[in-house]
């Protein structure tokens, strides 16, 4: 069936993209200069390296007729899990970054642009 092949191929591409994102995130976490930029790399790993391949796994399951009806369960669980990581990943990264910034737990240098400080200056805080 054509659509099954399309699902499998798109799924495999997504898994490959995920693998690339994970490697990029690992390099970023090791090489980036401070906590906040490393957190960005970690989020690349969480969204690109976990959500995208999870969606890919769901598509691969949909394109595997040998799984029978179970492929719909696998795909459903994959998409739900992907969606939940997508919601949780950004909220977790935001909470970590905000807490670190407020508590001044990590050095901010080198800093290119600090929108929060600018906003506080505008408000006169």
């Amino acid at each position: 069936m054509l659509w099954e092949t399309v699902c499998s191929v798109v799924g495999l591409i997504l898994v490959a993209v995920g693998a690339f994102c994970d490697i990029a995130a690992a390099i970023g976490i090791n090489r980036f200069p401070n906590f906040f930029v490393r957190l960005h790399a970690a989020t690349v790993g969480a969204i690109g390296g976990a959500v995208v391949p999870t969606f890919g796994a769901g598509l691969i399951a949909l394109g595997s007729p040998e799984l029978g009806n179970y492929r719909f369960f696998v795909a459903g669980v994959s998409f739900t899990t992907g969606l939940m990581i997508m919601i949780l990943g950004q909220a977790g990264a935001h909470a970590l970054a905000r807490a670190t910034l407020k508590a001044k737990a990590a050095p901010l240098e080198p800093c290119v642009h600090n929108a929060l400080r600018e906003r506080e200056e505008v408000r006169g805080e």
């Binding site: 939940m84 919601i87 949780l88 950004q90 909220a91 935001h94 909470a95 905000r98």
Partner: protein
């Protein structure tokens, strides 16, 4: 990278390699290799769901739940009671400490709060699902209850202890829920015994299906789906008790240190 880091890394690798080499040589005792199952394991596998030999069966497809709540139910009951005692002890230690509310705005940023609001119902739903499939698939009351308690932890961290108190999740309510769950488990354990006494038939404590010398049984099917008989009730009550108990433990451990110390020194007021 410091030299000490290198030395630590190298020694960890060396330890792993040495241990695996010793294991390969049989240096840390013989590794048992069995081609066949032991009789006990085989009996569990053959009898957990066996409509032909009902007197030996729990009629639940999930072996672990069947063993935990049917074959060795009494043991599990006391395990649950031990956990209940531990929670009671924590509550007793902090007796008199009131959860003071309205001390500040509290809570994390709007982004985290919104995410939590979206996720909390999903977590509770997942917990209920794990509980309600406990006798069909891996999972059960404890796992489902612990999952539900995660929702409380999330709410506590993202919103603050004040919000929990405002929504009625207080120490006393949770303790009552926990006790209700435990009483429910105890009642399920003796339900058939009470019925047996009432109608003058033999019955056993922790009886699930028909046993030798006792014709009483919990309903094993609901519209064609196996319910595991009493396992359904045990799982439900266990989830109830565990979710309330763990939430209570989390709330007690998140009491403000200053207030707890004041109360323990006898300076606080109830």
């Amino acid at each position: 990278m410091k030299v000490t880091d290198l030395v630590v890394a190298a020694s960890i690798v060396a330890l792993a390699l040495l241990l695996s080499y010793a294991m390969f040589l049989g240096g840390i005792g013989p590794v048992p290799v069995r081609s066949e199952l032991r009789t006990l394991a085989l009996n569990y596998i053959l009898l957990t769901y066996n409509p032909v030999k009902v007197v030996y069966s729990a009629l639940a497809p999930e072996g672990v739940t069947a063993i935990v709540w049917d074959y060795r139910g009494l043991d599990t009951y006391f395990e649950t009671a031990v956990m209940f005692l531990a929670i009671i002890s924590v509550v007793a230690l902090t007796h008199g400490c009131k959860v003071r509310i309205g001390l500040g705005k509290g809570g994390m940023s709007l982004i985290v709060k919104t995410t939590t609001r979206v996720l909390m119902p999903l977590i509770v739903l997942a917990g209920i699902s794990i509980t309600m499939h406990g006798w069909l698939t891996p999972g059960g009351g404890f796992q489902g209850g612990a999952t539900i308690a995660v929702a409380t932890v999330l709410a506590l961290v993202t919103y603050s202890i004040d919000t929990l108190a405002k929504h009625g999740i207080r120490k006393r309510v949770l303790l009552a829920m926990r006790s209700t769950g435990l009483i429910g488990i105890a009642l399920t354990a003796v339900a058939l015994l009470i019925i047996g006494l009432a109608i003058g038939v033999n019955a056993y404590i922790f009886q699930n299906q028909k046993r030798i010398g006792s014709p009483l049984a919990f309903p094993a099917y609901f519209s064609g789906t196996p319910t595991g008989g009493s396992l359904l009730f045990y799982n439900l009550f266990e989830a109830f008790a565990v979710s309330a108990g763990l939430s209570l433990a989390i709330i007690v451990t998140s009491l403000r240190e200053k207030e707890v110390k004041e109360t323990l020194r006898g300076e606080g007021v109830e």
